[in-house]
Symmetry: C2
Subunit: 210 residues, 2 copies
Amino acid sequence: MDDARGGKSRLAEALTRVVAREGISGVSVRAVAAEAGVSGGAVQYHFPTRAEMVLYAMEWTSEQVEQRLSAVPRWGDVREWTREILLELLPLDVDRHRQHAVWLAFIAHAETDPKLADVKRQTNEKLRGMYSRIVRARRELPVTDGTSTASSPTASTGIEMDAPLLQSHVDGLSLQLAALELDEAIRVGPRLLDRYLVLAVDGPEKESEQ
Amino acid sequence: MDDARGGKSRLAEALTRVVAREGISGVSVRAVAAEAGVSGGAVQYHFPTRAEMVLYAMEWTSEQVEQRLSAVPRWGDVREWTREILLELLPLDVDRHRQHAVWLAFIAHAETDPKLADVKRQTNEKLRGMYSRIVRARRELPVTDGTSTASSPTASTGIEMDAPLLQSHVDGLSLQLAALELDEAIRVGPRLLDRYLVLAVDGPEKESEQ
């Protein structure tokens, strides 16, 4: 791994630990340096400003999620592996709970910082393409390979709305589950997801193909 | 209006304007005093600490939402007025967009502050009772008057899951709509809500009553 990149990743990870503990307000060059066990100068070598550091850490967090999702095996029964991907997006273990909290902090902060808002938008677009492929795969419809118009957030007829609806469901369910104790979240999360899939993804299959 | 209460409300409103502009990190006694046009001493008279001020402002914001919802007329066609309540929860005008951003900042900050987490939990519980009543009303089922077990987040059979699912939908849809330009959000928001109501609330009526 490239040294500079390795150094930046390590600082990004340290920054997310600070955010998990103290929120975005807790982030400073000094706090991140202390968390990573390096000098303030080492942090400033990579990130001249606090804003650049937060931006990089948000991008890094988005990449972590993407890598975790791409590691889910995509073979066998399509309803099984697409379900696995959706479960992977919910805060159902300590790491994902922490990552959800950190991402929420970045999203909230993005309301006041256009560059963070761009990262949020790009991440949402990638995920929306994935939700569209999942809906189509579960309905045995042709799956296009990426950012087709079928995944547009502004689509307004039948099946084209069901990808943004699935995205809403996963985002909103994550918010709810994050507020529960972990064992409770693990108990109800998969059931609520399955209920949603029956009602709004697999159920209306025939109607949507007409 | 009680003077002390009026003073506190005014400061809470000023605090939300600071959060909308600069995020939670921007909140300080000095910033809120400047925003409200009062002295730092006047702020500290009501709120000895920054944390108390943030807590009060979060409670105040939650009450604002509750009051807005209770102002929606509840007569006529049940599917119409319940839809109006749900639309009222989406960030479909400038004020509600701003309120959504501020609430998101409080929610994110609540991850690091147990008292804010309590406000979040209480607000969610109230809303969950309302979602449960909306689902039951739209399905012409008996509506209980409040925090019945039917609205438990941990309910795990059929219709009992549909209130937390509706809550997830509204929360997740709000996140998505907040990322769009307002005219776009106004265009797609009601359509996505209506699609969800058909698929997951009104559609499975018969199945759920069995």
